[in-house]
Amino acid sequence: MTYEVRAGDIEHGGSVSARIKTDLIEAGVSPSVARRAGIVSFEAEMNLIVYSTAGGTIAVAVESEFIVIRVEDRGPGIEDIKLAMTPGYSTAPDWATDLGFGAGMGLFNMKRNADRFEIESRVGEGTRIACWIQKDDSAGRPLHKEAQ
């Protein structure tokens, strides 16, 4: 399932991720795994709303072993990914920080809740992120204390 997220559409912010979490639970995914997928989706959704120039897409696929979440936008791109991944670092505009966005934890939270995380970005072109979340959490995988 692929969802479109519009840039600046703060009013509907979180509605895509809320639906993703609910749909996954209905599809039989465990609540803790659906929660992690929901958090990854929420951060992606908010990044598209607050930072992207023209919105983007969130695609969710339930595969045999993993839930795969792919996020794509068409800019502006991230200049320094390592810096953007650092907790506390944010380039959020004032209107967004007033609403409690821009904690500088978005990408960090995505990586932390995923078993595998990939990001590539080109300034002027866009950003692509892919997250894999293991469906079987019976081993009780603890969250990474710190995303590397």
Binding site: I10, E11, G13, G14, S15, S17, A18, K21, P31, S32, R35, G38, I39, S41, F42, E43, M46, L99, G100, F101, G102, A103, G104, M105, G106, F108, N109, R112
Partner: protein, 113 residues
């Protein structure tokens, strides 16, 4: 301890989903930064905040929080209230300051049972 117990002991107003107050409370989280709550919060917690817009409801739903406690007299806008009601998110409210509410909630949850 349930949300109903917390409502009763702290004298809170219940704005949405009054029929769900039997939910178990596992702890609390206090912040006005949404991603901080997603990063550090845990399912079943009560979130103390002065943010009162619709995205707060989404965070509570995604994070599986027991309830959101709006401090300092903050009231949700109509969109937030409607979304909370339909998404099963309990919105609580108090005129007390966030610090005082967090402190009282902490003490309440620390009581021996």
């Amino acid at each position: 301890m349930t949300v109903a117990d917390v409502v009763d002991r702290l004298g809170l107003a219940v704005l949405t989903n009054e029929s769900d107050l039997g939910r178990e409370v596992t702890g609390g989280v206090a912040s006005d930064l949404l991603s901080y709550v997603l990063g550090t919060g845990a399912p079943g917690q009560i979130w103390v905040t002065v943010q009162h817009h619709t995205n707060v409801v989404a965070v509570a739903q995604v994070a599986g929080l027991a309830a959101v406690l709006l401090a300092d007299g903050r009231m949700p806008d109509e969109a937030a209230r409607t979304r909370a009601a339909s998404e099963g998110v309990i919105l609580l409210q108090s005129d007390e300051r966030a610090f005082d509410l967090a402190g009282r909630l902490y003490r309440l949850l620390a009581e021996p049972r």
